[in-house]
């Protein structure tokens, strides 16, 4: 077998141009697929990290308080038990954020838009300034109580400029209608489909609008030392909290027909009967679990491209090896006469094809890695519409090694299928037939 493998390898160099052409086709296909896989590999982490920054946390704790009449208020009035449990868990928390938020209607000169407004302690959340670049206005103006930052898209829809006063209609935590007034302090670069999530105001003013007292808030965000700590830390904190406060059961995706674990948590909350104050713990992964569906879709796309490209390449490989078989028919006869068994002839052709596929696949992966390195050097800036998909303004890639190995194996398998027929025909030739044909 070693000898036949050696011959198969050397046979590749006999028609260099043909081998290079076929190998290049394989390499190109693998490069495209690897790039998609690499993008999908980093997509989930980038989106989660960027959302963590915008939502100010990897793990979130929010409170629900039942009033005497059964009405439910979203508020955390005293977070001492929460901070104690976080500290006791040993989770690698970089900082804790406290936010309140509402969904209301912004009104300016007859134009209206419904949007979410996050109240944040902007003196504490300095990282938000780094993440959210302003196209117009200044962060310094956010010291004003009713200051507001809107994304480019929302500002354009309302046709507002920095300094304009914007009316807001919303509901307090108790469900009463309320009206407030914001002054536009800044317009952030558009973040595409996520623009509506990026309206920021001062926590104190949002609390006032919501009817919360100073020091109260709705959601505690725990920013960890990296996304990877999220799930373990969440479990540890949840376990610690369950001993000191009432908690909603963490959601399971498949319960109640919910699409995401976070939706499941909310549905569960509605079903359960409880009194007093309950807290829910959820993670960025649960909120963004649909990102995983996007990753799965990207991977499926990559797989489809892989198959389509290789069906085309396979036709080429099959035809080429059919030609190769006729070219080498004399050699086949000689080898069979000298004592090479049918399986040996078949193996030799299959090995040649596998070497070609492996060579092409490895080159394709190397090319993709080079392309990834070059692309990731380009700084698209934090004001890019696709910044949510990027890492610090750069497109980033992560190619799971198993995926790369899997692609190589798929290509090797497809190539084997492509060459099976000509290799089988070569093996079936009787030595006399092969020797006669070559004369």
């Amino acid at each position: 077998m070693k000898t036949l493998a050696n011959i198969a390898l050397r046979n590749l160099s006999r028609q260099k141009r043909r081998s290079i052409l076929l190998g290049s086709a394989i390499a190109f296909g693998v490069m495209i697929v690897t790039l998609i896989n690499g993008f999908a590999g980093a997509f989930s982490e980038n989106v989660s990290e960027n959302f963590s920054n915008l939502m100010a946390g990897h793990i979130f704790l929010s409170g629900s308080e039942k009033e005497a009449g059964g009405k439910e208020l979203s508020v955390i009035r005293d977070d001492s038990a929460l901070t104690a449990a976080v500290k006791a868990s040993g989770a690698p928390v970089k900082y804790i954020t406290r936010r309140s938020a509402f969904t209301g209607t912004l009104i300016f000169e007859g134009k209206k838009i419904r949007t979410n407004v996050d109240g944040a302690d902007l003196e504490q959340e300095t990282f938000l300034r780094e993440r959210l670049l302003l196209k117009k206005g200044s962060w310094d103006a956010m010291t004003e109580a009713g200051a507001l930052i809107l994304s480019e898209k929302i500002a354009a829809k309302l046709n507002v400029e920095v300094g304009d006063r914007i009316l807001v209609q919303m509901q307090t935590v108790t469900g009463q209608n309320n009206v407030g007034e914001f002054t536009l302090a800044g317009i952030s670069y558009d973040a595409g489909i996520f623009g509506q999530m990026m309206s920021y105001a001062n926590l104190a003013y949002v609390n006032e609008l919501l009817g919360l007292k100073p020091g109260e808030y709705q959601t505690m965000g725990l920013m960890l030392d990296g996304l990877k700590h999220t799930e373990k830390s969440a479990s540890d904190i949840y376990a610690g909290l369950s001993e000191s406060v009432q908690l909603f059961t963490r959601g399971e995706k498949d319960e109640n027909g919910a699409q995401t674990p976070f939706q499941a948590l909310l549905k569960q909350q509605k079903k359960e009967s409880w009194e007093g104050v309950r807290y829910r713990l959820f993670t960025i992964n649960e909120v963004l679990s649909q990102v995983q569906q996007i990753v799965a879709a990207l991977d499926t796309t990559a797989a489809v491209i892989l198959v389509v490209l290789f069906v085309i390449i396979m036709v080429g490989i099959t035809n080429t090896f059919r030609m190769v078989m006729f070219e080498r028919i004399g050699e086949i006869g000689t080898m069979r006469a000298l004592g090479v068994q049918r399986g040996g002839v078949r193996s030799m052709f299959l090995l040649e094809a596998v070497f070609l596929a492996l060579g092409g696949a490895v080159v394709g992966i190397l090319l993709a890695l080079v392309a990834m390195s070059i692309i990731s050097l380009i700084n698209f800036g934090m004001n890019s519409p696709a910044f949510i998909l990027m890492k610090n303004g750069h497109l980033s890639f992560y190619l799971p090694p198993l995926k790369a190995i899997g692609n190589i194996l798929v290509i090797a398998a497809l190539t084997l299928v492509a060459v099976a027929s000509p290799a089988g025909k070569a093996a079936k030739l009787t030595p006399a037939e092969a020797l006669r044909t070559s004369k």
Binding site: R10, G333, G339, V340, Q341, P431, A432
Partner: protein
């Protein structure tokens, strides 16, 4: 009993809708150590008979016996193994493997089959054969860097490397000039004498036929002459030759 025995062997090839009878019931016997020429004009059935002796082709009817053992019932894998163990081949067009150098081409048959030869023994034997065929300075060269005569020398060494009982040579000098052809024949004869390997070669060149100890002449798929240089060949393998259609037997 000879080392090779053909018993009423027929070979019919389909040619479109027609059936062409290339060999029409041939019987003869070849003794161990013979240097035998199968002679005849083109289309007389020389190559077909050589192929059947070499087990690369199977007779339509009749039997080919190698060392007394019938071969018609053997399966492809067994035939391949038997070919590898018993036979060596020299082809008209040399048929070397182009991607292997001289040394590797000669080594190739030793790497097939189940029997493994020790590394030192193998090297010594191949080096000896290379020396015998006069290619000591060419061992690292690829076939396309050799002349026709040199290629045929490599083919001879390759045919001998497994120490076969029989070497089959199909028109070994046809693609060579006459001087080189004579050298090749001399070499084959020398090896025949030294190693007692049976050489069976086909040719249509009358000058080459005369160098053989045993001559079988064919015409239109039939044996027309079967004789040793010094005696009647029928005496050695009476049972086979008795049923032969050999006119000269």
């Amino acid at each position: 009993m000879g080392i090779v025995e053909l018993q009423n062997v027929r070979k019919v090839y389909p040619l479109g809708k027609l059936q062409v009878e290339a060999v029409k019931g041939v019987s003869f016997c070849i003794e161990k150590g013979d240097f035998i020429s199968i002679a005849g004009p083109s289309g007389s059935g020389k190559t077909t008979i050589l192929n059947m002796i070499g087990l690369v082709d199977q007779p339509t009817s009749g039997e080919v016996l190698l060392d007394g053992k019938p071969t018609s019932s053997l399966k492809d894998a067994e035939l391949t193994r038997l070919r590898h163990e018993t036979l060596g081949f020299i082809f008209q067009s040399f048929n070397l493997i182009p991607v292997l150098n001289v040394w590797e081409n000669i080594e190739f048959p030793l790497l097939l089959g189940k029997t493994r030869v020790g590394k030192d023994e193998k090297k010594e034997w191949i080096d000896h054969l290379i020396e015998e065929v006069g290619l000591s300075d060419w061992r690292k060269h690829k076939p396309n860097e050799l002349s026709g005569g040199q290629r045929q020398r490599v083919a001879i060494a390759r045919a001998l490397v497994t120490r076969p009982q029989i070497v089959l040579a199909d028109e070994p000098t046809a693609n060579l000039d006459s001087a080189t052809g004579e050298q090749i024949l001399e070499l084959m004869k020398k090896i025949n004498r030294e190693l007692e390997t049976t050489f069976i070669f086909s040719t249509h060149d009358a000058r080459i036929v005369d160098t053989a100890d045993h001559i079988i002449r064919l015409r239109d798929g039939l044996v027309t002459e079967n004789r040793r240089r010094d005696e009647d060949a029928t005496a050695a393998c009476a049972s086979a030759d008795a049923s032969s259609g050999a006119a000269g037997a």
